[in-house]
Amino acid sequence: MTPEQLGLWAGLVLSLMVFSYLLGDNVLYRLAIFVFIGLSAGYIAVVTVESVILPWVNTTMLDVQAPLGTRIIGVVPLLFGTLLLMKASPRLGRLGNLALAFVVGVGTAVALVGAITGTLLPLASATSSSVAVDPLNGFLMVLGVVCTLLYFQYLARRAPGGGVRLGLVARVFGTVGHGFIVVTLAALYAAAILTSLTIFSERIAFILSRVGGG
């Protein structure tokens, strides 16, 4: 049996072990999951060291030809990484907050800028231009956007009885927006089912091919 065939049979066994979850949580399922998680974690660790950490260290800290600023900058990620490791200690965990705050802050800033330049403006432009290209679709698109936004507005007048009731316009458009949201979520849900079925069919095909001697 070649290594390839061995791997295929191992894949078959692992697939069946995962499918055993239909019978409930059991040791086979857990074993398969542990194998996947363990392999993934180990592989990620190795790849991270080889592909991220070591190249960085070699090109900054250990590069004797690099300028001093570069070498000093090379220490910063390692310092932050070390601080993050402190999170494992209840006593020293607060030290990791500095690195965590840095990561979160930078991530938020990057996401914010990207959302404006990559999502809001292009989508708004596409929406507006679609009106001219295809008036019907453009109208539906604009209507959906406006109504969905109106659905998420909560400014309302409080009635004497204590209840809160939106205005008529907001209620009507909000209902339409609600409909758009339902359609959107339904599409997402259906797409997720499609993906699952595609993967499931592949696994079935794989199992059948293995069992059938393929």
Binding site: L22, L23, G24, S40, Y43, I44, V47, T48, E50, S51, V52, L54, P55, T59, V103, V106, G107, V110, A111, G114, A115, T117, G118, T119, L121, P122, L123, A124, S125, A126, S129, A132, V133, T184, A187, L188, A191, A192, I193, L194, T195, L197, T198, I199, F200, S201, E202, R203, I204, A205, L208, S209, G214
Partner: protein, 1229 residues
Amino acid sequence: MSNDFEKNELPDWLQGDNDDESFEPALPPADDDDSADETPDWLARLGNLTPNRPAAPEEPPATADLPNWLFENDDEPPTGETELPSWLADMDAPKTSALPAASEPSLGELPSDDFLSLGDALPATSDLEMSYQQWQAEQDILRNGPDLEAEMPDLFAGIDDQPADVKSTGELPDWYLGLEELDQSDVPDWMLDDAPAKPARTITDDTPSWMAGLEPTSPADAPAPVSGDFDDDFFAALGVANTTETPSEAPVDLSWLDDDTLTTATERTRDDAKEDDFFEALTASLPDQPTALEPLEDDEPLAAEDSDDDMSWLADVMPQASQSVPAREANLDDLFAGLDDAEAQTASNDFEIDWGSEPEPAPAKPTPAAAKVPQPKEFDFGDDDDPFLNFDAPRRPRTVDMNAEPDWLDDLDGSTLLDAETRPQETGPLLPDIERPTLPTTGELEQFLAGLDGDAIRLPQTSQLADQSDFDFEASFGEDIRLPERSPVQTDNLAPAMPDFLDQLGANVGEISAGAIVRQRKDKPLETLDDRLKDLHNRGEKLRTSETPVADAELLKRVLPNVPEPLAAAPIAAGQPSIPQALALTAAERERISLLQNLVRRDATTEDADALPATDNKKRRKPKPAAKARPTGKRRRYNFDRLVIAAALAAAVAAPFFVDDLRIGSLPPATFSAGGPGALAFERVEALRPRTPVLVAIEYGPTSAAELDPMLDALVRHLFMSGAHPVLVGGNPVGLAHAANVVEAIANDEAFRERAGLRNLRSGQEYTVVRYLAGDLVGLRALAENTADFMLTDIRGQATRLNIDSLRDFGLITVITDNSEDVRNYAEQIAPIAGAPVVLATSYSAGPIARAYTGTESVLGLLVGYGDAYTYAVMIGEPVAIDATVPLVVPPETTPEATAQTPRSSGAGLAVPPALATFQARFIDGFNAAGDVTEEATVEGITDATATEPPTDAPEASATPQPPTTAAGVAAQSTATTAPTQTHTATATLTVTPSDTPTATPTQTATPTNTPTLTPTATPTATATPTLTPSRTPTRTPQPAGAPTAEVVTGRIASSQDAVNVRSGPGTGFGVSNTVASGAQVDVIGVNANRTWYRIRLPNSDAEGWVAIQLVYIAEGADRVPVVETEGAYKPQPYLRVLAQATEEPTSEATPDATEESTEEAAATATPAPSATPLVIVEGSSPYAPLTPVETRDERWYATTLGIIASSTIIALGAAVNIARAVARRRSR
């Protein structure tokens, strides 16, 4: 009752985090035996100086040793030793170490010789050289004492100057308290009451009769100054500053300070919303102030020169008003609290004021301190010296003696003199149980000092106070109160936003539970309650009588007088109050919840919870027993419904693999619809120039490999076929490793390489798997900005051979992902910066999100799910079972013009994009499925251009026919081409099978040479052997570059950017020759064959260039834009060239330059196509034979289709069953 405070009688805000125990004395007892020893140093020095003074013959010896100022307030100086306080007696003792010990003369006796001889040791007095004036001056000093101003230069140095520079904040000088920077936020909350200000009470209407008896010196006629110098008001309100002017007068009559006045003052104070104005308001509210209470001048207290012989004012003013300011503020705090209550009482009319009644005789109750010192005049505090008694009994009408001194003044006068710095740490409760020395008013300084702790009397540290810029005024009211500590209340689970006062309140109520508070309400009759509530009631009755300590009951009566009986804390289950914290509560709600949490005290009751009688067993969950070993052999309960559903779904998915009849539905289309996102993606890859690096982002893991691996496989194969250089990156290292395996498998596919003409596909050479992108979004941004750094090493940390500086160096960016978040990230972080078109290839789940980005300026193509992967694979030549209903052969076009302008439509309505036609021309044998239809291919793109080309161009551009090199092919000798042809290199070994229906008017010429040249011509040729050139850009007869067409269509630049690039060719690989502003109107003079770029003429210029088709909006006539070719069209792809071993230059010239060397034989047998169907019938193997077949590809598609049907059925059945069960349940009810 003198100062016998109870904790519950204090206002809440004064009760710190202490218990209800009795207060500790704020100060050491004033009647300390060692008080004399603790006399302030400066007073001690005064006493020590007396022995040095020579006996004055004109003064009695008994009193000569005492400073004169000590007697000036008395009508008669003390004459007996017994009348002297002990500490004064100690003054006579020479304590100066320089003086030798000697027998101390007792008072009333002449000093002994030894004692008098001590004067010889005083050089100052024995200086014989001293003049009389000098001696007299010295004697004055000795007699009157040292100049205190000189003694305290640092104290008074800045007093006169500071008030002029700093901002006054009230009666207390700002420099004195460090309040210069106080703002509204530092004001206690009670000062900021938003209640509407009540109008100031008209005092004159309520002026009591006793006012008429005031001495004429009082400014009865003049209104009290409302504004002015607040510093003076402060001392005036204290009633002590006037001692300077009336040193020998009787104690100040403060009877005018009735409660009504205080109420008015409080109102005025609230109007001004600052505590420092209280005294101002107090002063203003006085109908007639006694003379003693008149405001003093600014410098009056400090005018030592006016009273250099009488320093009693200093003792009165400084200890009270200045030296112990914080301590006094603490007393004032009581006053303010009382005023609040008094105001409420006034409003409720429960407070009766007896203006004319005589003061109630109160029994004298001297304080211990006062008992030990001579008290020539003693204040009678009576039983009402507790200021809170005046306010905390709203239901008790009482009579106020307006002639008596108000109680709160007792506190003011009796305020403990403490050091401002050490007081909070050294003292206990300030207000209650303080045995304060009775503060003398006038002439009783010695008595007062005798009863004080000497250490407490310290001069005010003005510099220190002035430096306290962040002086917390509010804190100064409360921090003096140090209550006895008790066990801390468990507040671990309390809401963090709980204010301190609630926590303190919780401490005050002790064991009283929330149930006790509720119980004071009237309950419903027990009979009306249901069983569950009755059980709860019974439990409460049991708990009430058994678990409440008596002490707490007493405490409860004081704290909550309306609660008849305390109820022990109700046991509740332990746990985090997750619900209140998870909900969005208002601040008031959170406070209430926190209060209840604090009252219940989970920590104390949790342990007892299980011990309580469980009367409500139905509702109460029994404690979980210890984990027991699961009995062996116990069978697990299975969810059969889930098993049945899973089995049904698995059967439905597996059935198409076995049963052909269950292969429902049709396979995915063989081509993408023209103009669709899939076709755009295909065209983008097709338009790549050789060796162009293409970024392939792998953003999916092994879990989605079943869906996206076919997509990756098709894309990478196409990239290899296009000669591009895939560069794989990814944020998922496992997915990246998996993708590397897939690419490696393709590279090792010898059949593919042979068919594609690729000799080697090596990692690092023809493709590269670079490092993975750590850091998710941040890592992606780093890739966009520091692309070169990421391209240095591969996934194994080895150096790459890439020379990429930025994303703009990539000709295309493809993102393969199963996550909509990754779609968004790439669209946001990469696409705006890349400058290269982005093609998204996603799973079905991420498709809806990706579709929203498609069609924008940067994201052009989109491939979704297994279906598009299937189609893509078919388009690049994967062997598929072509559905008979989807013919691949485009029917002949009877109208050449229409053919050129509109995508072909198959018989089944399948639109064939131009790129596909081109590709089919190149890889004509890709469709080799069964049937004759699969043997056919079209060269639509070729005929398009030819059809529109006028034949007049034929002489200028005649292609050089290549002789056939194989016998199998019929040499196409008659290539009467009329247009310049591009000669492309190809390695194809074509076998062109003549169709069975030769036509007399073939529209294309297939030249079966090693470099087949397809020369479409508008001129029918008699050559029956067409030459098919499987080139990247099929040979066609384009129009001359920039040649005007029959019609010029007007368009408008539509872009979100200010301007768009105009390139020299139809592709991003061409340079930018110009720009055109967005919104500009341009002439569209052509479109490329793939219909992806418009050739435009710039406005107000003759310059021309190419603009991406999505950037030009043509309102009308877009279908009339002619197809044109340009100079410098696609260069031959090196990979294909390598395979063909031919070097080929782009043929911008009319004459093709076919210099390729043939290494393979091409056998092409062309027969004239039917006139109606210009087909190229391919026979035999092609250079692009089917790729490695995937056996189960079609079955998977059918399985997925059937699975969808099964899932929908199961969901519908489940819903129906649930509805039926609900209906049945309702009916059963």
